[in-house]
Subunit: 407 residues, 2 copies
Amino acid sequence: MEGTKGTLSGRAEPPASPILADWAQKMKRSVLRQMLAVVARPGILSFAGGLPAPELFPTADYAQAAAHVLATDAKALQYGPPFQPLKEHIVHLMAQRGVQCSAEQVFLTTGAQQALDILTRLLLNPGGQMILEKMAYPGIQQVIAPFQPRVWTVPTDLDTGLDVEAVASLLEEGVRPAFLYVITEAHNPLGVSLSRPKRWRLLELAAEYGVPIVEDDAYGFLRYEVGHEPPLRALDDQWVFYVGSFSKILAPALRLGWLVAPESLVNKLTVIKEAEDLESSAFTQRTVAAYLDAGHLLDHLTCLRREYARRRDTMLCALEQFFPQGSRWTRPAAGMFIWVELPGVVDTAELLKVALEQEQVAFIPGYAFAVNGQAAANCLRLNFSNATPERIVDGLERLGNVVKREA
Amino acid sequence: MEGTKGTLSGRAEPPASPILADWAQKMKRSVLRQMLAVVARPGILSFAGGLPAPELFPTADYAQAAAHVLATDAKALQYGPPFQPLKEHIVHLMAQRGVQCSAEQVFLTTGAQQALDILTRLLLNPGGQMILEKMAYPGIQQVIAPFQPRVWTVPTDLDTGLDVEAVASLLEEGVRPAFLYVITEAHNPLGVSLSRPKRWRLLELAAEYGVPIVEDDAYGFLRYEVGHEPPLRALDDQWVFYVGSFSKILAPALRLGWLVAPESLVNKLTVIKEAEDLESSAFTQRTVAAYLDAGHLLDHLTCLRREYARRRDTMLCALEQFFPQGSRWTRPAAGMFIWVELPGVVDTAELLKVALEQEQVAFIPGYAFAVNGQAAANCLRLNFSNATPERIVDGLERLGNVVKREA
């Protein structure tokens, strides 16, 4: 990229190629997404991605719903407004999470990622302020990047979640983030769920300082323990924007998610969404509604929870068996990820290279999630939803061997 | 929305509800999209939307492709990288438009609107500069709005398109737009295609001043006259970002479009797209590729062109027959829209109310497209793709009667 570097007949010489926006010139690819491309090579046993188990997709039922919609619904392939029956299904889904809301508060999005993007446009000014956990979902880091915000970081306790008192201190000092981003159930990458007292304290802070909360609940329906804490949105409908997704409970390729937001803001959300992609696919909306009409979801969720719980338990046992003394890991009650801290001085970015080369096993090194260059050299994220229990045992043994040799 | 309005124990009182980003507080709904919601009432004969004819959707072939993909392709419902065979199909499609490009230059998007949004993020700084036609597609106005750019306007000739010399003057005066947005084939809302000399002059200006061009070719495959001017991207691969879409040639509910962009920028486009919606639906990508594999598209396009040409001709005749002396309209060689200027002093916004009430006929008043409050009080946009010829004759007669009574 050349800037203006001289004059030619009275005006600056033109650039040799298109000039990008300032932030775009500096932007970096997400380390996570880059790695996912690398480890997708055939023959790699990968615990890297956040992929659901494809053999559990309700493919036949979905195909039936799609065929039915195309055969009977003349509006399936046309432009159209958000599909009201789908919103009503989501109201019922939300009730299963303990959330009372109306169809008018449900806003459909092209996946949960778009919901985060829309909310960021709604709430964050260029050069605004943000508070993030030291280890944070790369997707939230990517949506705020174009706004070049000033970002403060707070720690996360691996048993109780986000350090809410660290947030309180920053707010007390005058930091005013555009919003607080929280995964209350099954943090990505850490696997921890937010404790009940912290949930209440966070809502107290939101109201006290007037700071909205974006609650990312992509994993909320995948809980493997009895008893659960309610989502923040179940406790407060004024400060909490709830983000939900069909990616983890039906299939990622639907690219369908939703927001629960104050009804008074739905018009503004609509304007932002129209700029981004006009509307989400009418065909997908109507097919998912038809799938839900058929009543298969509850059984499907039961099946997912049973199998993913088994895979989680298998991975926890395998960690115990194959990883070196002094290793620590989270015991997620929900979701798809386990966070592992290795003992001693070890660089998991280097470890990944060795694991790929010698054992064809992949994971994500902790630094891929680090905000503001936080250190996480001895940490890694493991996904337990995508591999069968047999492959989890095999892969963890191979990975454990690498760790023991290299650490 | 309350600001900070006092102090409470040493700090400002919190707001009563979430504080929105500055631009979001001021944002307005697109007049066009609001109207589309209004005129979608049952019983309205609408020439308002930009809707393709639903009876021409290749529903059976698409259903077959979808069923085939779900039955045979285990990756159809999973997360996945852009589907290479679809990119290769698009390379062949582009060749039909006279554009030589490689699969590595094809970037898949969630509809053409997302392509515009991604390019705007790539190229436009907050508070940057833009040049738009006085009447412009609302979707481009919506994508630039969050950046609060300074916008200059230029006229459009209804026979030859964008006033390229007006652009030249602004550039000469030192205006440096982040990009030039052009619909070279079948302008929305004006229906005009850019003349050959203007195409070359525009490319000359782009290179001379180093200003990239975003060429929106959503209607380029729907051309009804023999002989066509090549898209700008066929003439220049350095300054032109080409935007294509399956919405008008297959179906809008696919939400699938593409960019042809310099390969060196694809990584940056990927980062921006990941922030917006991670990726476009693998299922849709693979189904469209399967539909294209089956080889139906050429026949389908022939059928679309034949029927839309008939509808256009019917509407042009009906305008001649039913509209008052002194009315003028464009004669589009492609696309979906005719732009009408009524004689005398008339406010088409008021006219719409009367037409809806008395004749249940809808159109879009010109002001819905006006940039910077440009006047277009006596203008309106008519869509000819969505209604059958019989309904076009009926509707234009009713609308002509309203115009004659009110104008």
